[in-house]
């Protein structure tokens, strides 16, 4: 607190060389190396996230060869080996019907990643073209497309997915359709906003002045510039799709037994969490880790796709 009267700053000590030592403060020169360390750490986290994600994808693809008990990933049960804790024989333990959890987690990655990839591809294939056309054409075309997306966005995405999955027959395909229906409007809206901005940019005008046709302008000038935020959002959303898929499975509306799926595994183990924690913990950790890695990758992509990154480094 100051009383409003001018105060005289104490004289700074002068070193033997005559230099005045600069005090360390949060905004002073000392904060620059700290910021540098934080930035380096964040840079490393992106690399680590990408590497872990690659390992998860490899684990999913190579599950039949990597899994210690491949039959447990599909149909086998072992009534005499139920709920064994983590150990040398079963690194992640076994579930209530004696299946090896490491095997189930690896096979579960296949289902979860397939659902994520399918939902995001489907949503992007529907949402991005609609958004680009709406944004570039403007006027009535934009109004019609955007009002349709508004209808879908009016429903909470998860509720819409649950309702649709309940109507459709429970299964992986149904989960993909149910989640996609609630997901594509976000991409349509995001792309429309980007395309609306981009169509007024100078390079679009220049392209028209150079005789480039509207179709080519949309495909080569508007789309590549509008799609960058969508690519980032896709990677950020992958974790969300896995969680939504897990939620559907948890509610009994997603993939069904004996399919290995992380959400389903968590649902089946919820009653055992206090006594046999590993049944829930490992598939839960797999969901957490994958969602986290996708988010980190999304952040990395956002940075990498910034055309001005070389100037801001």
């Amino acid at each position: 607190m100051t009383d409003g009267s001018p105060t005289q700053a104490p004289p700074l000590p002068v070193t033997a060389t005559g230099n005045v030592p600069v005090p360390h403060s949060a905004s002073g020169p000392a904060s620059a190396p700290r910021r540098g360390r934080v930035r380096r750490l964040l840079g490393w986290s992106r690399h680590v996230g990408a590497v872990v994600l690659i390992l998860i994808v490899l684990g999913a693809v190579l599950a039949p060869w990597l899994a210690p008990y491949p039959a447990d990933g599909t149909h086998a049960t072992h009534p005499l080996d139920t709920l064994a804790g983590p150990g040398a024989q079963h690194w992640f333990g076994t579930d209530a019907v004696g299946r090896d959890l490491l095997t189930r987690v690896l096979y579960g990655a296949r289902t979860s990643l397939t659902v994520a990839a399918a939902v995001l591809t489907l949503s992007a294939l529907v949402g991005v073209p609609l958004g680009v056309v709406a944004g570039y054409a403007g006027g009535v075309v934009r109004d019609v497309i955007m009002r349709i997306t508004d209808i879908f966005l009016a429903f909470p995405a998860l509720l819409l997915s649950v309702a649709l999955a309940a109507v459709l027959q429970a299964g992986t395909g149904s989960a993909i359709i149910a989640i996609s229906v609630g997901w594509w409007p976000w991409y349509a809206r995001m792309t429309c906003v980007a395309a609306t901005t981009i169509r007024t940019r100078g390079f679009v005008d220049s392209a028209r002045c150079l005789g480039v046709t509207r179709t080519r302008i949309v495909l080569r000038h508007v789309l590549p510039n509008a799609v960058t935020p969508v690519l980032v959002q896709l990677s950020l959303d992958a974790g969300g799709v896995i969680l939504t898929s897990a939620a559907l499975s948890y509610l009994g509306l997603g993939p069904q037994e004996p399919t290995a799926e992380w959400g389903l595994m968590v649902q089946q183990g919820q009653d055992l969490f206090i006594t046999d924690w590993w049944v829930v913990a490992f598939p839960g950790l797999a969901i957490l880790l994958t969602a986290f890695c996708f988010n980190v990758l999304g952040e990395g992509l956002r940075s990498a796709l910034d055309p001005h990154r070389e100037l801001t480094r």
Partner: protein
Amino acid sequence: MRPHRDSDGDEDSGTAGIVSGRPRPDRSALTVTDLQVRVGDGDDARLLASLPHLDVRAGACVAIVGESGSGKSTTLHAMLGLTDGLRVSGRIMLGDTDVVSAPEKTLNTLRGARIALISQSPQSSLNPTMRLGTLIRRVLARHGIRGTEVRQRTDDALRDVMLDPDLLRRYPHQISGGQAQRFAIAMAVALRADVVLADEPTSALDVTVQAAVLQLLDRLRAEHGIALVLVSHDLAVVSRIADHIVVMRHGHVVESGPATDVLAAPSADYTGELLAAVPTLGE
């Protein structure tokens, strides 16, 4: 308002022709007759730009000057047939084609190849996701130029505008404003456009680069016989290369005549105000 002065020095009416200190080429590259650009319909219609007559010959430079909102950029866009949502009447003859009545498909073949625009924001006029080499290659391909001719025309154009071919590997944000403007000019040169419309081509550049770009435009029109239509609010810029000046205000032509006459003895008060606004050393 004092009456307009036409190309022959007669007092009239908004008719503009070309008188130049340079050799006067015979070929007419662009002719505008009774051009009117309006926005809105019926009683709500508002005139944005009106140009009774303009004849731009090959190798000549016509400058359209005026304050913001005077209709000069609208006139320029009308010459390109880019008047979405506006009502255009009159005739704009680019060779044998009337830009006002030509279908979009025809205009797309003319834009770039016959008439090109150099915008006031050089860097934002280049697609940030494309390397410069890709940009020029695709524009040339759009106009049917392929194979070795692409390389030949690109190299020639870059040499004309004094740019290093290494620049083709760069993205627009990796070059300076002056280089971006030179590259935009190079694209027009590579396409061998007859008419180049320059919309405030130096307003986003610093003074030294401004001079270089103006010199470049002046040299190219002399060497290649390009008809140059230069739009600017700055008479100092215009005075350096224009043969003929059209002064616009509130969508109308207030004065039109040979550059030497308009600059030395303006007939309209507004032109006098624009001339008075040109900063001079010591002020």
